[in-house]
Amino acid sequence: MLRVEGLCKHFGGIRAVDQCSFEIAKGSISALIGPNGAGKTTAFNCISRTMEPTAGKVWLDGKRIDHLKPHKVTRLGLSRTFQITRSLEDLTVLENLCVQATSHGFARLVGPSISEEERAKAEEILDFLGISRLAYEQARNLSYGQRKLMDFAALLMSDPKIILLDEPAGGVNPRLLDDIVEHIRALHARGLTVLIVEHNMELVMSLCEHIVVMAQGRVIADGPPDAIKANPEVLEAYLGASTAAEETSDAEAAHV
């Protein structure tokens, strides 16, 4: 589904992402984890083309996307959220969603800003996420958790094949977190491929079937959760010393 090969992003002398390669299988839920500064978000940015990678190749469904503009990547079916939510403040929730709708032809451009189908689809998605009551609210009036949900809703408007979620659990209260996990599972059940960057190890271990671990810009481990938990290199990257796997997940959970 998504294949990354030799991805590099250098900021001056800093190699934020260095020869990063991994593959995400179609229909899987995968996670990209690693300590702070490991280059996870930068890798995300390079894949979604929000940032120009220094080098490397990225394939989406067998098609090279590393030379495309960000909007083309989105139209090919790869959508993402941002770690710090980015909402269009002066626009209503409904408008925020419809910005991400799929129709782009010229005839469509001069048509109404929100077509009836888009409105219906947006309302359906808002219903699914349980925030349909916010449809006509301006994004600026939303709480942080509501913004997370709105970002998530907007993502679904573009009918993506794969979604990249940058810290979906970051700064979200535990109850909302459960909701978000449920939503991710429901979407996965519908056949969506999901890749998340996340610090909450409990969540990662329970939700994901495939984990890629990064440290200092490099991929240091790649495999199913159990193998990752047992991998001494991963523990060292996280804690600087070898510690039992249970402690890792506890420490991380406490940290978040």
Binding site: K69, T74, D90, E95, T102, G111, R133, S158
Partner: protein
């Protein structure tokens, strides 16, 4: 997130019903119909205005109306780029100049009136807009503003020294054969049509998918792009549309004044007026630029009449603008809309 399980059920019911009423209100205001009456009356009055010439000499009134309409057109077009898209151009009068010179030179060399060639002037201005925009719209924020001023300076130097178009002395255009009583009327109607087209275009854009994309760009360009919007093309298109109407007004204005000279088109005041009108009226609203144009032209004229054409009248206009912005930080229309006090006839957003 309302957690209903742990609280007093009555209080929860109250909060929920209040919330529902509030949301219903938001949905209603979103679906509120337009008030056409005032717009229609204003349009009829503007169409009928030249009839005053049958009963006396109202050339001054006609001139002021024409001048205001010109700025309504220019501010509304500026608003498409500066208001909706969020790219503040301080060199937009470059397109005013290009429009003026394209049609004016055709008139001077071939005798074809600008009333006929104005659309061509607009197209040339739009084409230049595409060329310039492709380069300068890569910059964001203050850098873009400076690039737009640089464009103005470059074009000013070019026109001041371009022999074919008369350099700094400009070109004198043939004077219309019409009697002085009727001389202004064709230009008045031309400006009326252009202003109407610009306002309608601005309204249509605001309510189109294209406009939604532009507004997304003004809020967060990275987000807009990752949402699937071809931001580069959108911005250039907005720039071109914006340049088109400004170019048309330039064409008419040149023939109306009967001469072309760089210093009528290429002083920064013209560009500053477009910006100020949008800010005073309400940047990013449909009717804001209209209100702003009327206010600024009216204040300028009032102070020029009462305080004389000294520097004091400019100071007075500036003072009024500061006062308006103190009480209407989002512009008159923008602030009233935010407070929910905008009269319906001004609510076209």
């Amino acid at each position: 997130m309302s957690d209903t399980s742990t609280q007093n059920p009555d209080a929860v019911a109250d909060v929920l019903s209040a919330r529902e009423a509030y949301n219903a209100g938001l949905a209603r205001s979103g679906a509120r119909g337009r008030s056409w009456t005032v717009a229609a009356i204003v349009l009829i009055l503007l169409i009928a205005l030249p009839a005053l010439q049958f009963v006396g000499n109202y050339n001054y009134a006609l001139h002021m109306a024409l001048y205001t309409l010109m700025y309504v057109a220019m501010a509304s077009s500026w608003n498409i780029l500066g208001g909706y898209t969020g790219y503040v151009s301080l060199g937009h009068n470059v397109f005013f100049c290009i429009g003026g010179y394209v049609s004016g030179m055709i008139l001077a060399k071939m005798g074809v009136s600008t009333l006929i060639t104005a659309p061509l002037a607009g197209l040339v201005a739009a084409a230049v807009g595409v060329g310039v925009g492709t380069i300068t719209l890569r910059m964001r924020g203050p850098t873009f503003i400076i690039s737009s001023i640089a464009l103005l300076m470059i074009v000013r130097i070019l026109f001041d020294n371009w022999g074919y178009v008369g350099g700094a002395n400009g070109v004198t255009l043939p004077v219309t054969d019409l009697d002085v009583r009727w001389a202004k009327i064709p230009y008045y109607y031309a400006m009326l049509v252009i202003a109407l087209l610009a306002v309608v275009a601005s309204y249509r854009i605001k309510h189109s998918k294209f406009g939604l994309g532009l507004r997304a760009i003004s809020q967060d360009e990275v987000k807009a792009e990752s949402a699937g919007i071809d931001t580069a093309t959108y911005k250039v298109a907005a720039f071109a549309v914006s340049a088109f109407f400004v170019g048309m007004t330039g064409a008419i204005w040149g023939e109306y004044l009967t001469y072309l000279r760089p210093n009528i088109f290429l002083i920064i005041l013209v560009a500053a007026y477009m910006v100020l009108m949008c800010i005073i009226g309400g940047k990013g609203t449909v009717t804001g630029p209209i209100v702003g144009a009327i206010l600024i032209v009216a204040f300028n004229e009032f102070f020029a009449a009462t305080l004389g054409a000294s520097e004091i009248n400019i100071l007075a206009t500036g003072l009024i603008m500061v006062l308006v912005l103190l009480y209407f930080p989002l512009g008159v229309v923008g602030t009233l809309a935010q407070k929910g006090r905008l009269p319906r006839f001004l609510d076209w957003d």
